[in-house]
């Protein structure tokens, strides 16, 4: 029997949606290129925004909506933002009922009333519900435990090659079975992409894991679907200078200062992320080192509030934040753009294909995401996405038939990579990362963007004409990393072209040749590939 719903990606978005689809009675499977919990969601520390008012009594859903819209700078869909913020309370109730171990306050008078909340940048109230500084990790693992209870089927180590689309309708997907070294086809009445963002393209200048390169977004582009707002990439103001390891925003939320080498504070630490990142980048451009100062919080409080940061600073920078300044730089952290979806989360241009989470552009974050809204987005929309896709699947009454040509084409593609003369993909990956950070980063301009586009196109051609040195079929990590770079290089020109086309500055997109916001650009940047 065909699957009703094939979910690609096993982070918070994928697992939440699988749980909801299963509840509805859908036949569902979750495919992942790693193992189920090896996902970006585990890295989210700060929290999940829900206007519970547990600490700030006067917080409200309206205030949450307002903050989100202000931060999006005209590029969100107000209706979608309202939907997400209005779903927030039932979302946190659901997570509470699954057993997510949130931090608590004392003497509350209801279950969700006891969840501790803190203030993150750009928020008007203490709104982010958290679990120490492991919010994403604990949420993800609790979802995974719940998926085990529900009997969700996971298929591990399958790398998405392409979505199979015939006459504009998604019918399944092609995968590279990493363990067995074979191309596989999985047929399904509907597909949900939950494949994550693309900030990992900024290799060496990103908080993201290796391989976070927008696999799903690139496959939508190849399948003829639309992607949008790719120029909007959020740079996290505070990553460790040497290793790009994230220092959570909660370090500033709890009262940490940003200081330059002269010891002066130069920016409001809790301003929106884009402003803070630009201010830091400005200092660094001037040749001044920038530091995060949390010494005044005291060792005991630091270990209580930021235990991960304490350990990471010691390991990667060799410093003790209780006694020393933390050297930092801003790095790529979150991608606002992605697969363009309608209000039913169906991908623009591909019928039967849906998207949720960071890979999707559901027009929530617009030009700049608020901390705490991404964890909310992946869970708050899970039910809606599951419903849309299952309803669509039920409307398909015939068996799925897929032509053999897709598999043949995929096999030829893999054979070519294994046969062609090898290149050093790791060097190319690092080159791409540096180029993107320097020319398509925090501060951009037309000339360097055009130049970057040329260089990226050249890298793209070079990669297509070369292969890898590891010729093994099974467990070929070199091959997977080639495929990831192939996707990164499919998306990089889309990011740069979008940034070039947007001749203004708005949110995370800052053009020094067009430093102000222009009403002409209060619109989305759509990109799709035309068949040649």
């Amino acid at each position: 029997m065909d699957l009703d719903v094939l979910i690609i990606g096993s982070g918070g978005a994928g697992i939440s949606t699988a749980l909801k689809a299963k509840e509805l009675g859908a036949k569902v499977a979750v495919v992942t290129k790693h193992y189920p919990t090896n996902a970006q969601t585990s890295m989210a520390q700060g929290g999940i925004n829900v206007a519970l008012g547990n600490i700030d009594k006067d917080d409200s859903v309206e205030a949450h909506i307002k903050d989100t819209i202000i931060s999006a700078k005209g590029l969100c869909d107000d209706g979608m933002v309202k939907r997400m913020c209005s779903n927030a309370t039932s979302t946190i109730e659901w997570l509470e009922s699954l057993g997510v171990p949130f931090s608590r306050i004392d003497e509350a008078n209801s279950a969700i009333g006891s969840i501790a909340q803190r203030k993150l940048g750009g928020a008007s109230h203490k709104r982010a519900c958290y679990a120490q500084d492991y919010t994403g990790l604990k949420l993800l693992h609790t979802l995974y435990d719940s998926a085990n209870r529900a009997g969700v089927e996971f298929i591990s180590e399958y790398y998405l090659l392409d979505i199979i689309v015939e006459s504009g309708v998604a019918k399944g997907a092609l995968f590279w079975d990493i363990a067995n070294g074979q191309v596989r086809v999985i047929e399904s009445k509907s597909i949900i992409l939950a494949t994550g963002g693309y900030a990992g393209i900024y290799d060496g200048y990103t908080t993201n894991a290796y391989g976070v390169v927008g696999d799903g977004i690139a496959s939508v582009l190849r399948a003829g679907g639309v992607i949008s707002d790719m120029e909007f990439i959020q740079f996290h103001p505070t990553a460790l200078k040497g290793s790009s390891i994230l220092v959570s925003e909660s370090a500033r939320g709890e009262g940490g200062y940003l200081v330059n080498a002269n010891g002066d504070r130069f920016v409001d630490e809790l301003a929106p992320r884009d402003e803070v990142a630009r201010a830091i980048f400005d200092e660094i451009q001037k040749g001044v080192d920038v530091y995060l100062d949390v010494r005044h919080l005291g060792e005991e409080k630091l270990y209580e509030l930021l235990p991960q940061e304490m350990e990471l600073c010691k390991l990667h920078e060799g410093i003790d934040p209780a006694k020393e300044l933390i050297p930092i730089k801003p790095v790529a952290h979150y991608s606002m753009g992605g697969v363009d979806v309608d209000d039913k989360f169906m991908v623009n241009g591909i019928k039967g294909c849906f998207a949720i989470g960071e890979c999707s552009n559901a027009k929530i974050h617009g030009a700049n995401r608020l901390g705490g809204n991404s964890l909310l987005e992946i869970v708050a929309f899970a039910n809606d996405v599951a419903q849309s896709s299952y309803e669509y699947a039920k409307s398909i009454d015939s068996d799925i038939e897929i032509g053999i040509s897709h598999e043949i084409k995929a096999n030829r593609f893999i054979d070519k990579i294994l046969e062609q003369q090898s290149c050093n993909i790791y060097k190319k990956r690092a080159d791409l990362g540096r180029l993107m950070y320097e020319s398509v980063g925090i501060i951009r301009d037309g000339d360097s963007l055009s130049d970057a586009l040329d260089r990226v196109m050249l890298l793209q051609v070079e990669l297509s004409n070369s292969g890898i040195s590891d010729k093994a079929l099974k467990h070929n990590q070199n091959l997977v990393e080639y495929l990831e770079l192939y996707n990164a290089l499919a998306l990089a020109p889309a990011i740069i072209s979008s940034a070039l086309a947007r001749e203004e500055s708005r949110g995370a997109h800052y053009r020094k040749d067009y430093p102000s916001m222009s009403d002409d650009y209060t619109k989305h940047t759509n990109i799709s590939w035309r068949a040649e």
Binding site: Y35, P36, S97, L98, R104, A111, D145, N148, L315, I425
Partner: protein, 235 residues
């Protein structure tokens, strides 16, 4: 400095010129000298659980370990080695299905900061399998549930929202808590400071409350000694 890596049946030596994390060293080898070296990794910051290996016989996360001259790197124990340092984690993960470690029956209670602490450490688990690799019981009994599945079981037993902790307790009796020798190797290697040994001890006392007894103890057939305790005597 030199590090050696176990690859299938061979041991291969590599030179690294800087004191970097093991994960950085592995990628340096992949980039500079041998692109076929195979290992798992992800977040680089000790939360995704992908990169655990053994260094000089001790489990570490490659992303959180700084290499020193002479280090010997090998894949995790009690996992099928897939290639070089990459192992199959599906079998150990399936033990979570046997231990049924999830919230069975949600009990809507209002928690406080003390309740939070009851499961704070246990829920830091990243499923890196370090504890599983360090557990000597698995060398003798491959069906043993292992430390992380039992710690996770305790994480739900200790959660006041669990309205049916007995179901979890029932499922961890066979090849579970009583097979553990309380050697503490698991607790010693956990990169998150979780103490499965303590959690297993707690699960044993919870089991006793539900009338379970240590099968090793009962097979020795002790008779109940008389303490001559008078419940009415007062203190």
């Amino acid at each position: 400095m030199k590090i050696s890596i176990k690859r299938d049946k061979k041991v291969v030596e590599f030179s690294i010129d800087r004191a970097v994390t093991l994960l950085q060293a592995l990628y340096e080898i992949k980039e500079e000298s041998d692109a076929s070296l195979t290992f798992a990794s992800g977040c680089k910051s000790a939360v995704c659980g992908a990169c655990a290996v053994r260094v000089n016989g001790k489990e570490v996360l490659a992303c959180s370990y700084k290499i020193v001259d002479g280090d010997f790197i090998e894949p995790l124990n009690y996992h099928r080695v897939l290639r070089d340092l990459k192992v199959d984690k599906s079998e150990p993960k399936d033990k979570l299905l046997i231990s049924n470690s999830y919230l069975h029956n949600y009990n809507q209670v209002t928690l406080n900061s003390k309740d939070e602490k009851l499961v704070e450490r246990q829920s830091d688990c990243i499923l890196c399998d370090s504890c599983y690799s360090a557990c000597p019981v698995l060398a003798i009994n491959p069906d043993f549930l292992g430390p992380f599945a039992l710690s996770r079981a305790y994480r739900y037993v200790a959660d006041k929202r669990e309205g049916d902790d007995k179901s979890i307790i029932d499922d961890i009796q066979s090849n579970g808590i009583w097979d553990c020798t309380l050697c503490g190797e698991c607790s010693a290697v956990c990169p998150k400071g979780i103490d499965p040994k303590m959690d297993i001890t707690m699960l044993r006392s919870k089991s006793a409350q539900y009338g379970y007894i240590d099968p090793n103890f009962s097979t020795q057939n002790f008779s109940m000694p008389s303490f001559g305790f008078d419940p009415n005597s007062g203190f």
